[in-house]
């Protein structure tokens, strides 16, 4: 549950007196986007009480005493949901000490729990929040093994409780990167993977007992993979090549309980019917259209549109440290619908692909990602069409609590609105 972020004794006291009110807001006269793929609703209202959406639609009565914001016809949407990202793990990518996104010298792999590394105060979180991102699936990306470790689901609220679900999924690399880490070949990757899952399974059968003396995994890593084998913890698999995707879908023959999510999938369109049949959610890298490696020779921006048309549960993912670009990516997929021969998404599908879609892939569709009743009160007000590149965010709410949007960038912007120095140096302007 979100705490309020206001500082100062007076506001703190007010919050203690009425915590539910602090998480209640009604936004009226909105061009309202529910985020479930449906078309925007003109003159809509969203009502959030106690941090959760109570109602959203064309004729929603607002109870007396609720803080009400008149959107004046502006776009109002659920907060953006991004998966997979390294948000919260990195201050500056190239400054190694500030970057917790990989741990390639660790003796552990699957056991790593990334929630321990997440810093709710890091600047990329602040900048992403100002871009309308409210929830993220954070994955540890690199270890010395194919297993990255256990990812977390976070919110981007300006408060200390970032982690919504720790150890929400296990992340594994099975394409070129996985092969490199496993010993140089995909054959080695699959030997490693099957062995690891088998060792985990054996350990769950006799948790306290002795292990065979030829095991490869540390006990902690094997224990961490137990919930993966039993399907309790989803396994996020990064693959790009069509044949790799087929291999992943085939894993269920050996380990039928696996709860798979595919990340990347540049060649997903080439195996779209199989993906659709499997029901496995795909978090596709948006707009990849170059044969940047030999595992993505078939890349095209129409990938997502083709998968969608084939019935694949596809949404956008794999955003690195700049998830604020999600709306631009989604908008580009709408642009494709006007291009002869290309496949894209409708506006509603495109917005869902960065809100309810990823939330559902994360197994969180009933918690956040849309403005359907019962979801978290994560609401964003925009100054224009949210998928249009010239638009911007004006207000953000997480769990019904309005969020600060200022950060290092906005402070610099304000200081240098007039570049010439005044009577004193710029350092005195703050």
């Amino acid at each position: 549950m979100k705490r309020a972020l206001l500082t100062g004794a007076a506001s703190f006291a007010a919050l203690l007196a009425a915590p539910a009110m602090a998480q209640s807001v009604a936004i009226t006269h909105a061009r309202l986007v529910i985020g479930d793929g449906s078309a925007p609703i003109e003159n809509g209202t969203v009502l959030v009480q106690g941090g959760k959406v109570v109602a959203a639609g064309a004729s929603v009565p607002v109870p007396a005493g609720i803080k009400t914001i008149d959107a004046g016809g502006k776009w109002v949407t659920p907060g953006l949901v991004v998966a997979v990202t390294d948000l919260g793990l990195v201050d500056v990518g190239a400054v190694e000490d500030s970057n917790d996104s990989d741990a390639d010298k660790s003796p552990f792999s699957a056991a790593l729990d990334i929630s321990a590394a997440i810093n709710p105060n890091d600047l990329p979180i602040e900048v992403s929040r100002a871009g309308g991102v409210t929830r993220a699936a954070v994955a540890p990306l690199g270890t010395n093994s194919i297993f990255g470790g256990q990812g977390a689901i976070i919110d981007l609220g300006a408060d200390p409780d970032a982690v919504t679900v720790p150890r929400a999924f296990q992340y594994v690399e099975l394409g070129e990167t996985g092969a490199r880490r496993a010993g140089g070949s995909r054959a080695a990757t699959y030997a490693l993977l099957f062995n690891a899952l088998s060792e985990a399974k054996e350990l769950t059968l006799t948790p306290a007992g002795p292990r065979r003396d030829d095991v490869l995994l540390t006990r902690r890593d094997a224990v961490a993979l137990g919930p993966v084998v039993s399907g309790k913890q989803p396994l996020y698999v990064h693959v790009e090549r069509a044949s790799d995707i087929r291999m992943v879908l085939g894993l269920k023959r050996e380990f039928p309980l696996l709860n798979l999510v595919i990340v990347g999938a540049a060649e997903g369109w080439m195996v779209a019917p199989e993906l659709a049949k499997s029901g496995v959610p795909v978090l596709a890298t948006p707009l990849t259209d170059l044969p940047n490696s030999f595992e993505q020779l078939g890349s095209t921006q129409s990938n997502v549109g083709r998968m969608k048309a084939a019935g694949v549960k596809v949404s956008l993912g794999d955003f690195g440290d700049q998830p604020r670009y999600a709306p631009q990516y989604a908008g580009n997929l709408v642009a494709l619908t006007k291009l002869p021969g290309a496949s894209g998404l409708t506006w509603g599908q495109a917005f869902a692909a960065i809100s309810s879609g990823p939330a559902e892939a994360l197994g969180m569709g009933d918690r956040f990602g849309s403005l359907r009743p019962g979801r978290a009160g994560d609401v964003v007000i925009w100054d224009g069409d949210p998928l249009e590149v010239s638009s911007g965010v004006t207000r953000v709410f997480i769990d019904g609590v309005e969020q600060p949007l200022s950060n290092h960038q906005t402070r610099l912007r304000d200081r240098y609105a007039t570049p010439a120095e005044g009577a004193l140096p710029k350092a005195y302007e703050w």
Binding site: V92, P291, N292, T300, A335, L336, K338, E388, P419
Partner: protein
């Protein structure tokens, strides 16, 4: 004009060199030695462009919104392209001398811009697939390598060229060496037209550029090898020492005293002559200010600072030195010197009257320079800086052409310029718009409605998705 002089090529350069030698001849008969002649009268254009305009038909676009690239906007406008050139641009009533056989295109609801120009690309030198065997962008074996030429690394079959055209409307691009070195080598300007050879892509008449870099990259690359430079002060010391050598070399050349050729010094002397344009990778404002002083000290001009994420702090200095800021709209935070990047950079520079160029440095970004510009426009608007669409388009066209010294040839829809034109299916400053047709020198080389007018590089033949939409 510097450009037209270059366009006339090697012959004139040889005459100039001979003139300089001739002046020395009276003083020193040694100047007649074969060595001196060889060092003086070499071919200044040994890898000449073999690019030629491809066949086109006279084409009249009517009823479109036209952005002319120099800040002009015409509603319900007409653009006439013939014989590879822009022939006429005007409103609905403009009197166009339309040749017989002209193809007419109804542009209503559509937009026309000059071909988009990216002045910072590594296509061809860091091509797709991005495998080590293809990685030819940084000669990171010495901190100054002005002797290397990017064109000798460009792989003309990079699939990235086709995406840049189809999705970004790119018709001209400057390929630069990377930024590992303080002086990375010569750039090459290309027409975005596939060819068997790099020479077949080279933009005829474009001057060379010299890629320079300040800041983190050179000091990291060489510091980690235990050699100079390992600090920013080391960066400047190595730069200045190299410029001093170049000045000595040039003086000797002008006195007719050179006995051997020196590829590195020939490039730097070209910069001091003003015929090779400095393109300087530089993030931080304080470093840009010092580089401008170094340029003054050594006698050259910085044409553009690339990746100038802190340019907004020194827009006044850039304006005063007539140096463009070539920037992303909102890349931020990936390295320490990008920590103070802000999305309002372009808007604040525009307000300061400085030259803004939107660049990519990226095989994906080059497909969406129009969107990057639109983002910057929106961020400017939100702080009260309203920039008309037509001015924003200038950041992608004329200003880029100016920064790389080809503004007399392309970069706007002025009659007589190259017929480099994009017809967009909507306002190019919207995420929902894409190029519909792209002409280079009047030849239709991309047509969204005709699959066979979709270039496919050698690499992609027989691969999954050959000829697919991209």
């Amino acid at each position: 004009m510097r450009l037209s002089r270059l366009a006339r090529g090697a012959a004139l350069a040889a005459v100039l060199a001979a003139g300089a030698g001739g002046a020395g001849l009276a003083k020193d008969k040694k100047d007649d030695s074969p060595a001196v002649i060889a060092a003086r009268d070499f071919d200044k254009n040994p890898y000449p462009s073999t690019y030629h305009a491809y066949p086109g038909v006279p084409t009249l676009i009517t009823g479109a919104t036209v952005f002319d690239g120099e800040g002009g906007r015409i509603e319900n406008g007409q653009v006439l392209i013939a014989d590879g050139k822009i022939v006429g641009v005007g409103g609905a009533m403009a009197d166009m001398a339309v040749p017989a056989g002209t193809v007419r295109i109804d542009g209503s609801g559509k937009f026309v811009t000059p071909g988009i120009i990216d002045i910072h690309s590594h296509l061809g030198v860091y091509p797709s697939p991005a495998v080590e065997a293809n990685s030819d962008g940084n000669e990171a074996t010495a901190p100054t390598t002005p002797e290397v030429w990017a064109e000798h690394s460009v792989w003309p079959q990079d699939p990235g060229f086709s995406r840049a055209m189809a999705n970004g409307g790119i018709t001209t691009l400057e390929i630069l060496p990377g930024s590992a070195n303080l002086m990375g080598g010569r750039s090459v300007v290309l027409k975005n037209v596939y060819s068997r050879t790099v020479q077949g892509m080279k933009f005829p008449g474009a001057p060379y550029g010299l890629k320079m870099a300040c800041g983190e990259n050179p000091k990291r690359v060489y510091g980690s090898k235990g050699r100079m430079p390992s600090t920013r002060m080391g960066n400047f010391a190595v730069d200045r020492a190299t410029w001093i050598k170049a000045k000595e070399y040039r003086a000797k050349r002008d006195a007719g005293k050179l006995e051997t050729r020196d590829l590195a010094m020939e490039t730097l002397a070209g910069v001091l002559d003003g015929t090779i344009l400095v393109q300087n990778h530089c993030y931080r404002a304080d470093e840009m200010a010092q580089v401008l002083d170094m340029a003054k000290e050594m006698g050259y001009h910085v044409r553009a600072f690339h990746h100038a994420v802190e340019a907004y702090k020194v827009g006044d200095l850039l304006k005063a030195s007539d140096t463009c800021a070539a920037i992303w709209s909102d890349w931020w935070g990936f390295k320490m010197e990008a920590y103070d990047a802000i999305p309002e950079n372009a808007g604040l520079l525009y307000k300061a009257g400085a030259c803004v160029v939107i660049h990519s440095d990226d095989e994906n970004g080059i497909q969406r320079l129009n969107q990057e510009a639109a983002k910057a426009q929106g961020d400017a608007r939100r702080i009260g800086i309203d920039i008309p669409d037509a001015e924003v388009i200038k950041w992608l066209t004329f200003n880029g052409a100016k920064a790389i010294g080809i503004e007399k040839l392309t970069g706007s829809l002025m009659p007589g310029k190259m017929g480099d034109v994009v017809l967009w299916n909507g306002n190019p400053l919207s995420v929902y718009s894409r190029p519909e047709k792209v002409w280079v020198d009047g030849a239709l080389l991309y047509d969204a409605g005709n699959r066979k007018l979709r270039p496919v590089s050698d690499f992609e033949l027989g691969q999954p998705g050959e000829g697919d939409v991209k």
